[in-house]
Symmetry: C2
Amino acid sequence: MALDLTESMGPNSLREERSKVEFDVEAMKVVWAGGIEHKNMADKIRAIVTNDPVFEKVSRPQQDRKTLLKNSLKKAAHAWKIIQEKKLTEQEARLLRYYIDEPNYTDLHWGMFIPAIKGQATEEQQKKWLPLAYRMSIIGCYAQTELGHGSNVQGLETEAVFDPSTDEFVMHSPTLTSTKWWPGGLGKASTHAMVYARLITDGKDYGVHAFIAQIRSLEDHEPLPGVTVGDIGVKFGNGGYNTMDNGLLRFDHVRIPRENLLMRLASVTKEGKYIKSGYPKQIGYGAMVSVRSYIVKDASDILSRAVTIATRYSAVRRQFGGGEGNPETQVIDYKSQQSRLFPMLASAYAFRFVGEWMGHLYDDVMARLSVNDFSTLPEVHACTAGLKSLTTSYTSKSIEECRMLCGGHGYLCDSGLPELYAAYVPACTYEGDNVILLFQVARFLMKSLSQVGMGKKPTGEAAYLGNIQGLATKNCGIKQGGEWMNYEAVVEAFQARAARLSGACALKLNKAPDVEAAFEEYSTDLADAAQAHCQLIIVDKFAEKMKSAFPGQGTRQILEVLFFVYSLDLINKHAAEFLSTGYLTSKQLSLAKDQLRSCFRKVRPNAVGLVDAFGHTDHYLGSILGRYDGDVYPNLYKAAWNNALNESTVTEGYEAYIRPVIKNQTQNSHRR
Amino acid sequence: MALDLTESMGPNSLREERSKVEFDVEAMKVVWAGGIEHKNMADKIRAIVTNDPVFEKVSRPQQDRKTLLKNSLKKAAHAWKIIQEKKLTEQEARLLRYYIDEPNYTDLHWGMFIPAIKGQATEEQQKKWLPLAYRMSIIGCYAQTELGHGSNVQGLETEAVFDPSTDEFVMHSPTLTSTKWWPGGLGKASTHAMVYARLITDGKDYGVHAFIAQIRSLEDHEPLPGVTVGDIGVKFGNGGYNTMDNGLLRFDHVRIPRENLLMRLASVTKEGKYIKSGYPKQIGYGAMVSVRSYIVKDASDILSRAVTIATRYSAVRRQFGGGEGNPETQVIDYKSQQSRLFPMLASAYAFRFVGEWMGHLYDDVMARLSVNDFSTLPEVHACTAGLKSLTTSYTSKSIEECRMLCGGHGYLCDSGLPELYAAYVPACTYEGDNVILLFQVARFLMKSLSQVGMGKKPTGEAAYLGNIQGLATKNCGIKQGGEWMNYEAVVEAFQARAARLSGACALKLNKAPDVEAAFEEYSTDLADAAQAHCQLIIVDKFAEKMKSAFPGQGTRQILEVLFFVYSLDLINKHAAEFLSTGYLTSKQLSLAKDQLRSCFRKVRPNAVGLVDAFGHTDHYLGSILGRYDGDVYPNLYKAAWNNALNESTVTEGYEAYIRPVIKNQTQNSHRR
């Protein structure tokens, strides 16, 4: 049957969209990348990945778990070969792993095992372990969480009991719930583990410390005696995170040398004496800021990826309207589509800029740490915790929202969105559970407010709390809709809301006889206050970014529109907080909504340009709906025929399970 | 290694929870089931499924697509055998398919193909097709959506051109986008399809009509000449909906007899003359109400399933607190957990009761239709559309929320939640896209209000709009928190909010020169108004249910608490609408929140009892975290070892892809 697969509607739609864009897309690519060097590096690495058949990934949803893992090991080995051959820098190597877009053991080896050595090992220990890790002669993972313990690190049960008679620690898993559970790369790949265990010496429990334990033979990869290790099973999604061998680990009185305790913060002598080094443990916070800034940048990247798919397909897809020979209306022209899609588009840029700022924050923290200035750390800790929580939660939800915006076809793995969601959503849990992180922010806010009461000025992004009296009393003065198009007015609104929510919580806690019980009782209000604080930071940093120079024609203008889309949408979504705290009137809220709608009109012609500026390759998107060329339907059709069920016209199981039904023979045929 | 797997903490926790429950759980089971007969029937069918190894389902996430489909065909054949052997009633057979809990072609055969014949075929046609379908001598699917057309049914492109010379219709797929795409059961199983195609006769296009087309041979199951048919590919999730063969279908001038046009509403004569039958098409609406009431009941069931898992595991799981030899705090004791979990628990009951009411509504509609009374149909149409949209959207989101409430372990397929989400979320799209359905509700509301202006009283659940003047002016009079514990006060609040939101939209539309353009411009406001209307219905029906008698001690009391949890939580979540419309003051909102918190305290000791009352079997839950006995950790541990990656201690791919890395030999080893 001669079916013409050169459909032109989709490609024409995107061509037309691109012709309407009002700003310099190439210049915006540089803005998005954070500078021309970053853009060039990304382009270089993306080209490597895109052009290498080993890194093909769209077949993943059809693979069983064993195949998934094996192919992932193959990609890791191939990437390692490329890194060595092309002598990639550390940053380039990270980008390469990122664009390969397949979770595997190397993420943990480079992202957790090595940084933990750097942070917690003495210089002598680093000299021993780092070269081995850097050349991958050992593969390390990060074995912290246990079957019965996640967020509560102090409750971990694994034991490391010092035996002075042999100068060794005896690693042991005393209970079922002490089984290490979840560490990535542990299940099948790692040879070594950074194990968090209770240090016990001379009968005393000194709490959780980090130890390096070899778990598999370097010769044949078999688990060492006394070590039980394996994979914990299938996770959410078809491909998703299932390329990763999240593992379980038990020790049965396994002996490791005393020197394998990482001793930067504390050591144990040959005699079994526990000695604190006096080294300030805050030094480790720098690494935490760095990790969180990467997570926020990744969030913006993943969000931008989902938004790219939804935006392009919304311009290709048509539904209703038209008539009389005219094509139907592009879905992106519907306001209900715009009001869901454009705030996510704006959020991608907002998260990008706050992630960029966190990079500078890291430099500042490192400079201060080098002179033992720990004064800004509580604020930095709260701020980065909150931003990690907010951006990863929002991004996860938005991937699903983007999928929904693609209609039914978004449900096909060929859309790229189901697997993206399944693979990304653990970001809400790892590196700090998002709910618990918000409570940490709330605790910081309450503490800051009580210090304000004692005359101490809050620092950094919490500085506005110093003006809580003013913010609590001065209400919004906006009378005309146009007055909302003002950076100061918007930032002030977010400050007032955040300050008032925090203030109200502080009042409740102050009144309570038992502060801890009250903290628990009002935990949702506290989480709301924390969220308001973090949204303020993002709005504030976006406004600050707008003070800088931008390359290219029209870039500043459209970013300005995105700023107001981002902030006014938040005001609308959290209107109850702006209203109930008395800062806004219903009329002012209504004016903000009108402005938001008018911003959507300005985004509309630029939407495809704004997602093109993310610079994502078709390989990275892994989505037929989001193809750069818009050639969606022919490729969906072709892809369907590559599916295992279409290998034969008559399905496996027909003779055994369909024919007997049709022929009314299930009674006889079904004896088993 | 002697690892003791008889852990007792989890089972003890649940035993203790059950001892604290303050109401009669067995009586509540009857309430939940909607009567003792329903409960007995459910128990009977659940026992059949649970005790039959063919219906084992927990291994699905480890199966590849071919195995998934084949096993699903096997289950369908086995179920058919049971239905015949045990002479199950139609309702029992539906329940059996439901509890097997695996989407497959029989869902479409019984749920769409047969009802479509009943609704659209003449009696003569029914006599021909129904017996074939009832004994499954043919397998039918419902081929409506196309690659390029989903919700816009009138835009379908498949053609059925009448050829009087042979008395046949020529079925043809003229474009790529006209390819039928998504119909369940079409890909590999069906022999026949209910095809929606444009009826063209004598050169004139009469729009979309339903035709029965045979697509596969009844002898060897090969596609018939001119028919291209196959599976569209892998969908979200590992098992998920992948047991279903959603299909694609193309016709290349395939001829079917004229009589295969379903002719209840319109027919074509031998000469090619198109004749409307004069049969009122509204008659078909009865089936729609029935389908939607099933969807709402299923939503309550799926929601209750996710909530069961999250509630039990929240009682088993402990985190932080404790100390000094005491066990850590049960996660369910945290307010932040309760404030997310308990509203979902209350929603499950709320959805159950509104679904039950929809059953009665169906009876009422059928009685009216039998005397050609179509007067209530617009309201019923809007009401059921809105309830379908609201309950399926909420349930989908809540499954993910429940998964998150289980912490990291929720991400394992062993939790049962990832696959539940992936399999359920299409409910937001099929049988009417949830966003489009809300707009239909909004259109109904706007029309009703304009008719109120003309003196016409709205009927049924829209009756309150007749009192819009009163509702728009009388604000909430609550002064003390306790006054919120009042059914009338709560219902009035929901009426006022819904009426005011609708009224505000109507005002905007009235002012606009182009009503359609204004409807588009204010579509998000209209969707909000529609949502408020539907939430009112659920609150109202829950309040009405509370007027009936309840069996058993304490059932009424705890259901009353759930009513207030459901309604006050909604007021809190949508506070902006209650505030901005001026109905509530911030103070009244704050009082409502206080009452909500005190309701949570009343739910707490009854939470496990309330989920036990759903009566879900461990087979149906398919979740280690949600096990009835609470024996979670030993079973998670055991399950991990059943995973394919643990078949060998040294992983496949070690020699090829890990050893070369460790031994620094990737350069040589990696020649391909």
